[in-house]
């Protein structure tokens, strides 16, 4: 079987705890966990939910699952019971892996089905040698499912095969080299494509050192410059919201080790971009573009000198970018249209949603839903979005999912979630709702209802109780029209209402 790229693990370190596994220790950990899975009957093609991330054990579990030819499904550890039930129904996992932090609560919330495994329990060492995913898994076999916010409350699982992941890493090695990624710091959640596939696995499975932290910890951001110096970090990736805080509170690194910084998952304003360059002490701050469906980074500002500009991305990395008009004809250079991506690193599809997959991938090209243009050099510039998702500091939230969470509440007669501007996150979740009774008790009941159904990061931050949600003659709601209608009015004082003052 043809190999796409040679994979070999590097050392792992947790800067905040000081825990460290060198490459042989990683090998032993993976082997022992793979042996445990074998004893417990994990078979090729089985799916394994991984409910924690951003620590050494996560990476060992991931490779152990792959070693068995099974499929890893890393998920947010803060999902509600309702979300977990829906997830288990969609994924049909054989195992659920938890850690010693939130594992007890997750195990209690999980519906019957998967066998729960504690990744932090001691295990017997195993005499097994090779651990490379390619050694045990078929390239065309499923490797990873990552969930993005789906419409109508249906979880949207992006399925990558070993071949699509290897194609992404191979392209990144070719376009970016490895020297700048020798000591990579990951501050992003490992259940996100950006954090896992590119920030972590791209350098680490090329034998580079990976430094992994809990995501978005404030004490971490305050110490960011010191961590870069102490661990001689050469590379880190991030999202714009993180930089808005770090630039204010973290002293710049002094050691001169930082060679490259990537920023992605949300628009990077040119002024912020320049400030990151100043803080990092390197001009190699690249604005990256990609979606989980494309294996994350698919383009970025890597080629030669450039001047940061709003919307500037750069040349493709291992992909062909197309910009199309509404009639599917190609746009001319400089003409704005919808961005499509053609790449061997595209996902295989959405888990169990063939029709959705057919709409998203046509003739081997993925419809991103983003608007942009290609200039004369073939560099991508983004100009907005056609899809109506809310981008909260890099976390993509489908407003339809928020609607679906609220709609079942007996107090709610109509609802519309939409994006509101947020100085910190760029965007946040706004909610307009019509109620059976317009009083504080109804608002408290609706809030409690939604809270049981949506992970905390997706909860609406600003609420408006309205007389009616405006709809078209066909009954279609315009989220933009609702947003504009609410913009002129103050939102509810939720703190007062929820605390009964």
């Amino acid at each position: 079987m043809k190999r796409h790229v040679l994979l070999t693990v590097g050392p792992l370190t947790e800067p905040l705890t000081g825990r460290h596994w060198d490459a042989p220790a990683v090998t032993r950990e993976v082997a022992a966990r793979a042996a445990r899975y074998r004893r417990r009957g994990l078979r090729p093609g089985d799916r394994v939910l991984v409910h924690f991330g951003n620590r050494l054990e996560f990476f060992a579990e991931l490779l152990a699952v792959w070693r068995a030819g099974a499929v890893a499904v890393p998920v947010d550890g803060t999902l509600t019971r309702v979300e977990l039930e829906r997830l288990v129904e969609t994924v049909a996992p054989r195992f659920s892996v938890v850690d010693d932090a939130g594992g007890g609560a997750i195990a209690r919330a999980l519906p019957p089905g998967p066998t729960v495994v504690d990744a932090t329990e001691p295990h017997a060492p195993a005499d097994v040698h090779a651990l490379l995913p390619e050694d045990v898994a078929r390239p065309e076999g499923d490797a990873l499912v990552l969930f993005t916010s789906g419409s109508s409350g249906v979880p949207k699982g992006v399925v990558h095969t070993h071949a699509s992941l290897a194609a992404r890493w191979s392209a990144l090695r070719r376009e970016l080299g490895l020297a700048a990624y020798a000591r990579a710091l990951c501050l992003l959640p490992t259940h996100f494509g950006h954090g896992l596939i590119c920030n972590s696995l791209f350098p680490w499975l090329a034998g580079q050192a990976l430094f992994i932290t809990p995501p978005f910890r404030p004490d971490l951001l305050l110490r960011l410059g010191a961590i870069v110096d102490e661990h001689r970090i050469t590379f880190l990736s991030s999202v714009p919201a993180m930089w808005r805080l770090a630039l204010r509170v973290a002293r710049p690194p002094r050691g001169g080790t930082l060679r490259r910084v990537h920023c992605g998952s949300a628009p990077l304003p040119a002024t912020l971009w320049e400030s990151v360059r100043g803080w990092a002490g390197t001009p190699e701050v690249f604005n990256t573009y990609g979606l989980t469906e494309t294996g994350s980074w698919v383009a970025g500002t890597s080629a030669g000198p450039f001047t940061p500009a709003d919307g500037l991305i750069g040349p493709p990395w291992g992909a062909i970018l197309h910009v199309r008009r509404a009639d599917a004809s190609p746009c001319a250079a400089g003409e704005v249209g919808e961005v499509w991506v053609e790449s061997p690193a595209l996902m295989r599809g959405y888990l169990g949603q063939d029709e959705l997959t057919r709409r998203a991938i046509q003739n081997g090209r993925f419809a991103t839903g983003d608007l942009g243009l290609l200039d004369e050099r073939g560099w991508l510039h983004l100009r907005g979005r056609e899809r109506d998702e809310i981008n909260k500091g890099g976390l993509k939230i489908s407003p339809a999912e928020v609607d679906a969470a609220a709609e079942g509440c007996r107090r709610v007669t109509d609802v519309c979630a939409f994006a509101v501007d947020d100085p910190l996150y760029g965007q946040n979740v706004g909610l307009a709702v019509t109620l059976t009774e317009r009083d504080d008790a109804a608002v408290r009941e609706v809030h409690g209802w939604i809270r049981e159904r949506l992970a905390e990061g997706k909860l609406p931050a600003r609420w408006w109780v309205v007389d009616a949600i405006p709809r078209s003659e066909r009954g279609k709601v315009s989220r933009e029209a609702v947003r504009e209608a609410c913009a002129g009015r103050p939102p509810l004082d939720l703190t007062r209402i929820l605390q009964g003052r």
Binding site: R217, L222, L245, R248, R251, L424, R451, T495
Partner: protein, 83 residues
């Protein structure tokens, strides 16, 4: 003076806290983030508040994480650094 600053800081925290977490249940030394009162990126709003109201120059001081993560840490910072 510290009591006045405390009331001012608490009044501000009420404007950025998560709506369903009573501020009164968080002890002065508790971590504001780990107690669930605010999310981690809301620290930026605390920084802005301290810069604007107490003229604390964050770029010029060596900030320790503990100084911003609890009410008592913030009050100590104000006492030491405000101008």
């Amino acid at each position: 003076m510290r009591q006045r600053h405390r009331e001012h800081v608490l009044e501000f925290l009420r404007t950025i806290q998560k709506p369903d977490r009573p501020l009164e249940t968080v002890a002065e030394t508790d971590s504001l983030v780990e107690s669930g009162l605010i999310d981690s990126l809301a620290l930026l709003e605390i920084v802005t508040f301290l810069e604007e109201h107490y003229r604390i120059d964050f770029a010029g001081i060596g900030l320790e994480p503990e100084q911003l993560t609890s009410v008592s840490g913030i009050l100590d910072l104000i006492a030491r650094e405000s101008r």
